[in-house]
């Protein structure tokens, strides 16, 4: 099979993985050195595809042969898809050739399980090792870890890779048992735990050999089982706390050819995935807890974003005086982001904040108007009832921007 045929099949098979970030690696460069590659910590999107997702890494599977039968996965053993397998050298060459033409920032390599977890993991590690050792490649490498693999292999993977990830797959134990019968949440957690321990060790001992400097991440499939957003966000919060993950990725389940009957035939609204990313961002960046965003079971609202939903449900905090409030509370005002919250606090040291400042900072005025007080502005006191306000502020129904936050981590 030609290289381009394999690439066609194995890129197609890899696109269900939502992760595409290439950020968080330590600064490296190749000036005056053999080999090539640089990382600057930020990561760069080199292109976007018509689904609006960015291309920053060569995202492929080493092979889509797989002995497991995860029901949501197009590569499951009972699925009738064309199969292909790259050799280690082919992946290395593709990565190198794409990198040097500036198509990508590095490689994100995953694989179907072939023969055994250890055998598969060895192959993944071999690609990374060859890139780093033989080709002196200093670009970004993200390896998808096979949870059942020998911890020593995971340790070696962390030596070569910038980021490791272990997919939690689904939000609950029961769903994993039902839809991914060969996988096991216990071993998935153990693998995440062992990665976190290595990361902690490295943090305490700066001289130790490098280990996954861009940390670890995971992915949860949304809409393949009946779990609601409340469950999903709580699982995410638990994972963030337990394993110090850099990111939890949410991947809206895509219907696949010849779908098994155990999974839905239609995708969840992509807007739901978008709301989960927004809520996740509030967990990571704004100090919200899952129980604040989702106090009861159910799904996030689709008509308003989670921060606005929270503000509407917690009117007692508002209107908030921008000339008095805490920086962290200002960031909780709908329409004011983290950066503008910081700017407002800086500005406040020089003089009092006025309405005009908010428009200069390009805050979302319509959104914030009912929630703030400035030196020269006050909303009509408690006049508007939350449900009227909500109708007024709700997003116009439209195709949503799906991936704005993906770059930010």
């Amino acid at each position: 099979m030609e290289l381009s045929d394999k690439l066609e099949i194995l890129a197609d098979a890899a696109k269900y993985d939502a992760s595409c970030a290439s950020s968080g690696a330590p600064k490296r460069g190749s000036e005056g050195k053999d080999g090539l590659g640089a990382t600057n910590g930020m990561g760069i999107c080199h292109s976007y595809t018509p689904d609006g997702r960015c291309v920053s890494l060569l995202k492929i599977l080493l092979t889509n042969f797989c002995i497991y039968d995860c029901q949501y996965c197009i590569n499951r053993r009972s699925s009738n898809v064309p199969r292909a397998r790259f050799s280690v050298e082919e992946v290395v060459k593709l990565t190198h050739d794409f990198y040097v033409r500036n198509y990508i920032d590095g490689l994100f390599l995953s694989s179907g399980i072939i023969r055994s977890a250890d055998y598969t993991m060895e192959q993944l590690v071999a690609v990374a090792r060859q890139l780093r050792e033989v080709h002196q490649f200093r670009g970004y490498i993200h390896l998808k870890t096979i949870p059942d693999a020998d911890p020593l292999l995971i340790e070696e993977a962390g030596r070569w890779a910038d980021r490791l990830s272990v997919n939690i797959e689904l939000p609950t134990h029961d769903s994993v048992t039902r839809l991914a019968p060969e996988k096991n949440v216990h071993t998935i957690k153990l693998a995440m735990g062992s990665i976190r321990r290595k990361l902690d060790e490295k943090a305490e001992e700066p001289k130790a050999p490098s280990f996954a400097p861009a940390g670890q991440s995971t992915q949860m499939i949304v809409g393949a089982d009946a779990s609601d957003d409340h469950t999903i966000l709580n699982t995410a919060e638990t994972l963030y706390g337990s394993y110090k993950l850099k990111r939890v990725y949410y991947s809206a389940f895509s219907p696949i050819p010849q779908s098994p009957r155990s999974v839905p035939a239609a995708p969840p609204p992509l807007l739901r995935e978008h709301r989960l990313y927004q809520a996740d961002f509030l967990l990571r960046g704004y100090g919200f807890t899952a129980s604040e965003l989702m106090p009861a079971s159910g799904n996030l609202a689709l008509d308003v974003d989670p921060k606005l939903a929270w503000a509407l449900a917690n009117r007692e905090h508002f209107p908030m005086d921008l000339n008095r409030a805490d920086a962290s509370m200002i960031a909780r005002i709908p329409g004011i982001g983290l950066r503008n919250a910081k700017r407002l606090v800086e500005l406040r040291r020089l003089r009092r904040i006025r309405w005009e400042d908010l428009s200069r900072l390009r805050c979302s005025l319509k959104k914030l108007a009912p929630f703030v007080v400035t030196a020269d502005y006050k909303p009509a006191q408690g006049a508007t009832d939350s449900s009227i306000l909500r109708r007024h502020l709700a997003d116009a129904p439209q195709q949503m921007n799906l991936w704005p936050e993906l770059q930010a981590a």
């Binding site: 290289l3 690439l7 066609e8 099949i9 890129a11 197609d12 696109k15 460069g29 190749s30 000036e31 005056g32 080999g35 590659g37 640089a38 600057n40 760069i44 292109s47 976007y48 595809t49 018509p50 689904d51 609006g52 960015c54 291309v55 060569l58 042969f65 002995i67 197009i74 053993r77 009972s78 699925s79 009738n80 898809v81 064309p82 593709l94 050739d97 794409f98 040097v100 033409r101 500036n102 055994s116 977890a117 060969e182 071993t187 957690k189 153990l190 735990g193 919060e237 706390g241 337990s242 110090k244 895509s254 219907p255 050819p257 995708p267 899952a290 020089l350 400042d357 900072l361 921007n401």
Partner: protein
């Protein structure tokens, strides 16, 4: 003639680079000349850095001057006007790359106002500040886009260097700093980036500034590009097509020079033609497929049998923990030490007392002359109970019902080990050992009690010692723990006299 004199004689100040502007601005400021009095000009016209001859070296940005040819001004002041913070200087330097005829005059007005004490000239809430920030943002954006959307094409080795060539049409004067980015990225490979205004060549060791060389995209045939197009087509998920989002990410002016740009319209229309429901790309779907003939049992990975403890669902704590942590020590140990529950580290390691509390406990053992390996060490509750605090896990005391649920496991350990002395560390352990929900630490501290066939000695939990803020109290608590372990050893020697249980 120095700039101040020139201005006084009504001449326009010619500057081509940020360094030149900086120097002129410094002298004007020192001479106290206000912005209205200065006319700024650039060599050539329109403030274009690259037009006119001789071409100045592309202005180096934040990086040591490395472009060969024209040297920059020989002496550079350590910093321009006194008291200008680095952040403002960086902004001015970036804004200087913004192609706008009045850029030098504008920058001078900003720095003048700053010198007058108008420090919010840097803030986006000030009209000049807003413009400055917008210029900086546009320049940074252009740098970023150039990092992202340059496409190198490979030239045959026999054609000699450069091996890779790219064409780009930047809106602002960002080529020099962008060149630095690719120097770092490409190692010793040689390459060239051409733009309408100038070109840079990296020969593998040095950057050369070449002036404009080409007038369009390099017309090179690069077979590597076909693979990229294949990848681009296949990584797209037609089920999620969202063309307007695509356009919002990459402005249309870039598409014409991106090889994948030509594919987009047909991909979008194909996705619209029914592929929308399925993620698979049509060309893959049309190929013949293959299932993997393997029996489900054979596919099961080899795993150690999960322990019964790990499968415990007697309460909800297993849900958010990594694993259950059982006891550790000789099967027939004569002393059993019982803690509260595993902590963050124990939960990850799967062994009791390996974290900070464990380290402290080691010191207590040492002080008391007791070998940790000779005792059976366990916890009243086997799964870590916690609540999130940011990205950390904050220990949470187990509830009575959880203590009761988990007593099942402690009971098994007690039955198997039959220790003569049980050391309960902290209230949770005590409640579990005595199976009394209302017993408090204070009741039993320092007073051994009989329970069944064993003695129960109560001491503090090591985490308590770690938590106590006051140093004296810490010492005291530590001593109580040591004394308790000593007492436990003495009790081992006591003859078996039946004493009434003093527990209430």
């Amino acid at each position: 003639m120095n700039p101040a004199d020139a201005v006084l004689q009504g001449q326009a100040l010619q500057v081509a680079t940020f360094a030149e502007w900086r120097e002129a601005a410094r002298e004007l400021l020192q001479a106290g000349i206000p912005p209205e009095a200065v006319t700024w000009g650039s060599p050539g016209d329109g403030g274009d850095l690259f037009s006119g001859a001789p071409a100045p070296a592309a202005a180096p940005h934040n990086a040591p001057v490395r472009l060969q040819q024209p040297k920059p001004a020989p002496h550079q002041p350590p910093h321009v006007p006194p008291h200008v913070p680095r952040s403002l200087l960086d902004m001015l330097q970036a804004a200087a790359c913004y192609r706008e005829p009045d850029r030098w005059a504008f920058l001078y007005r900003v720095i003048w106002r700053w010198q007058q004490g108008e420090h919010d000239v840097q803030s986006p809430a000030d009209p000049d500040g807003a413009r400055l920030q917008a210029m900086v943002k546009a320049v940074r954006r252009e740098e970023h886009d150039m990092h992202a959307y340059i496409r190198f094409r490979e030239r045959p080795p026999e054609a000699g260097p450069p091996r890779f060539v790219a064409w780009f049409e930047p809106r602002h004067d960002v080529l020099p700093q962008v060149a630095e980015h690719f120097v770092s990225r490409m190692g010793k490979l040689s390459w060239m980036i051409a733009t309408p205004e100038a070109s840079v060549l990296w020969d593998g060791a040095t950057l050369h500034n070449c002036g404009p060389l080409m007038s369009s995209a390099a017309d090179l045939d690069d077979s590597g590009e076909a693979l990229w197009l294949t990848y681009y087509r296949s990584i797209f998920n037609p089920a999620r097509v969202n063309a307007s989002l695509l356009q919002s990410h990459i402005p249309s002016r870039f598409w014409k020079n991106l090889p994948e740009g030509a594919l987009v319209p047909s991909m979008v229309s194909q996705a619209g033609l029914g592929a929308r429901r399925i993620g698979q790309v049509q060309t893959v779907g049309r190929r013949s497929g293959a299932t993997i003939p393997i029996a489900p049992e054979a596919a099961q990975p080899e795993r150690e049998q999960p322990s019964k403890l790990d499968e415990c669902r007697r309460c909800e704590l297993w849900q958010s923990a990594t694993q259950a942590v059982g006891g550790e020590g000789p099967k027939k140990a004569r002393i059993m030490v019982v803690g509260e529950q595993p902590g963050d580290q124990e939960d990850l390691a799967g062994a009791p007392f390996v974290g900070p509390a464990g380290k402290l406990l080691d010191r207590v053992f040492e002080e008391a002359g007791l070998d940790r390996k000779s005792v059976y060490l366990t916890n009243a509750v086997k799964h870590f109970k916690w609540e999130p605090r940011g990205k950390r896990r904050l220990h949470k005391t187990p509830a009575q019902r959880e203590i009761e649920a988990c007593h099942y496991w402690l009971e098994k350990e007690l039955a198997a080990t039959k220790p003569k002395v049980i050391v309960a560390m902290g209230a949770t352990a005590l409640k579990s050992v005595l199976q009394q929900g209302n017993v408090t630490l204070k009741d039993k501290l320092g007073r051994p009690v009989r329970h069944g066939d064993s003695w129960v000695v109560t001491i503090y939990h090591p985490s308590y010692v770690l938590r106590v803020p006051d140093e004296a109290a810490k010492q005291e608590a530590f001593k109580v723990m040591v004394a308790g372990l000593r007492l436990a050893q003495e009790l081992l020697e006591r003859p078996e006299i039946t004493e009434p249980d003093t527990a209430r």
